[in-house]
């Protein structure tokens, strides 16, 4: 299989990472060699194998629904690149 530049552009859109032409070409090369290596998995027949979705085979513990952290609004916005009063500020979305 081969990942072309069109696919790279599509994935970069999905991943929200802008890539210029030069980066896209480098990424296509890298991903193709990595996927060549990954294709090895096709040697294995896995039709009747149950997928392993969690390695910790325990059921999630339940707990009571209580508020544990109070008044941490300031802490939450403290690290934001831009904020205004109690809000995160982003570039204008609505015209």
């Amino acid at each position: 299989m081969s990942i072309d530049l069109k696919t790279i552009k599509h994935i970069s859109k999905l991943a929200r990472i802008s890539v210029d032409q030069q980066r896209a070409e480098k990424l296509a090369g890298d991903l193709n060699s990595i996927f060549d290596f990954i294709e090895k998995l096709n040697e294995l027949k896995t039709d009747n194998v149950e997928p392993l979705t969690s390695i910790a085979e325990t059921t999630l513990k339940l707990r009571s629904d209580e508020v544990k952290s109070k008044n941490i609004r300031e802490q939450i916005i403290k690290n934001s690149p831009q904020n205004n009063e109690d809000y995160f500020v982003v570039p204008k979305v609505i015209e």
């Binding site: 999905l14 294709e39 392993l52 979705t53």
Partner: protein, 485 residues
């Protein structure tokens, strides 16, 4: 007392408890040596001034019942530390100051230890050589221009170079064991669910585990005892009865059955690794244990499986870095443009590569072919271990397929870099504990490690085997202080 930094954690704890040393003496010694060791680039952020304050405060009213009384310690910069910058080795978190503390570091401070600083690592722990860090590569104390391994490269360099008595790293595919092996120290990757993931910058959540790195097995056991705890704040933390690993440590492994998996004898493996492994099996026998040839038939599929599962989880975990809530933000013409530029400028090349792989294998039309397939193979890999553990108590393998390589040697070929983790990755996929111990040197004088893999929650057993072997191996790390002279 001279040569404080040469002492093991166990010796330092004893000397502080017997009042032969104060916390201030010890903290000062490690700060001095760290300051002389800038060339190693092991630290991203230091906290020396407040470390010394804390040490003085400790000495005024020392609580000597604690497990790490007044012991200074630097930690990997993947652990969130309250009010101390935490970067994960990335530009995108270059200005991030957590308002909370990770459970694992909290456990350490609760036992009396003092933070020295935050140690360099591959960006978001993605790398095997510490060359992907935004803060530059780390030098190995073993030799100039040699990689310390990764991703916990700063941690390995700091322990081997005696800038910290012990440290903690994280291990998603080998990030504790491989650098431990490259630098001649001991590194334990605990069972998945043994140490809380709360407050650790997430890479691949079904694989990530924190663990201790130390000069010897006893120190490693003591630190593991401190960091392993059940934590309701991590939904995959497991509530099981934990041992007093250091107290229960014994070199009596008579009658234990140790498996030697034939599939780990990979093509192109240097003869010195094969010889080391042979020597390891002899040591096992000398300790009164038995070795048994076993098969883990799906071993060669572990790395391809890992390179689907880990990037898939990473692409989801790293979606949170959007320039809005915290971290770096680039200017954009609109919201989408801002997201795309922030992530393009904020993430380094390796991280972008892995996000792209992960996004692709999870995207519509490819999910079944890649992600689901990988989850199925992951089951087969786990089944191999389950089957083997019907016959043996633990498994012995080399830690890595080669000794440490030169800086820049593998940066242009991602697949050859990934192959470094060929012996460590299966352990993460199966959620098992694994420990790497230094076991010899290659022709260049670089350290080589052996790995002992255990059953889930059987850390005590692999620590005991490591402890018994350590005594037989009698390894001496060749640290010349080249970076100080």
């Amino acid at each position: 007392m001279s040569d404080i930094t040469k002492q093991s954690l166990t010796e330092l704890v004893e000397n502080i408890k017997n009042k032969k040393l104060s916390s201030t003496d010890v903290t000062k010694a490690f700060i001095d040596r760290s300051e002389k060791s800038e060339k190693l680039n092991a630290y991203i952020t230091n906290d020396f001034t407040s470390a010394l304050d804390k040490a003085k405060k400790f000495d005024q009213k020392p609580n000597l019942d604690l497990k790490l009384p007044g012991i200074p310690m630097a930690v990997k910069d993947l652990f969130c530390t309250k009010d101390i910058k935490t970067t994960a080795g990335s530009k995108i978190l270059n200005n991030f100051v957590p308002t909370y503390e990770s459970t694992v570091t909290e456990n350490i401070w609760n036992e009396g230890a003092i933070l020295l600083g935050k140690l360099n690592c591959d960006e978001f722990a993605m790398g095997s050589s510490n060359e992907t860090s935004f803060f530059g590569n780390v030098q190995s104390p073993i030799d100039k221009n040699l990689v310390p391994g990764g991703s916990s490269g700063g941690s390995a360099s700091a322990v081997a170079g005696q800038l910290t008595p012990v440290t903690i790293g994280t291990d998603t595919g080998g990030s504790i064991r491989q650098p431990a092996s490259f630098t001649g120290i001991v590194g334990l990757k605990p069972t998945y669910g043994s140490c809380s993931r709360y407050g650790i910058v997430a890479f691949a959540s079904s694989l990530d585990q924190a663990g201790p790195m130390a000069q010897n097995v006893k120190d490693c056991a003591l630190l593991h005892e401190v960091i392993s705890s059940y934590d309701p704040k991590d939904s995959t933390s497991i509530d099981f009865k934990r041992n007093h690993y250091s107290k229960e440590l014994t070199n009596n492994i008579k009658g234990k059955k140790i498996g030697i998996p034939k599939e780990y004898r990979v093509d192109g493996m240097p003869k010195e690794i094969e010889d080391l492994w042979q020597k390891g099996t002899q040591y096992i026998k000398d300790c009164g244990a038995e070795t048994i040839d076993i098969s883990l038939p799906n071993t060669s599929y572990a790395l391809p499986t890992y390179y689907i599962v880990a990037p898939a989880e990473a692409s989801s975990n790293l979606a949170r870095y959007d320039g809005v809530k915290y971290g770096f933000r680039a200017k954009g013409e609109n919201l989408i443009d801002m997201y795309e530029k922030t992530r393009s400028e904020g993430f380094g090349a390796e991280v972008q590569r892995r996000i792209m792989i992960g996004t692709y294998v999870l995207s519509s039309g490819y999910y079944d072919a890649y992600y689901l397939k990988a989850q199925k193979v992951r089951r087969l890999i786990k089944n191999d271990f389950d089957e083997a553990y019907k016959k043996v108590d633990a498994i012995l393998t080399p830690s890595t397929p080669s000794s440490a390589f030169k800086i820049g040697e593998k940066t242009n070929d991602p697949v050859s870099m990934y192959l470094n983790d060929i012996f460590t990755v299966p352990v993460n996929l199966a959620g098992l504990p694994g420990i790497s111990i230094p076991a010899g040197h290659d022709a260049k004088g670089y350290p080589l490690g052996l790995q002992i893999i255990g059953k889930a929650f059987d850390e005590q057993n692999i620590l005991n085997i490591a402890y018994a072997m350590e005594e037989k191996i009698n390894f001496k790390n060749k640290i010349t202080d080249w970076w100080i002279k």
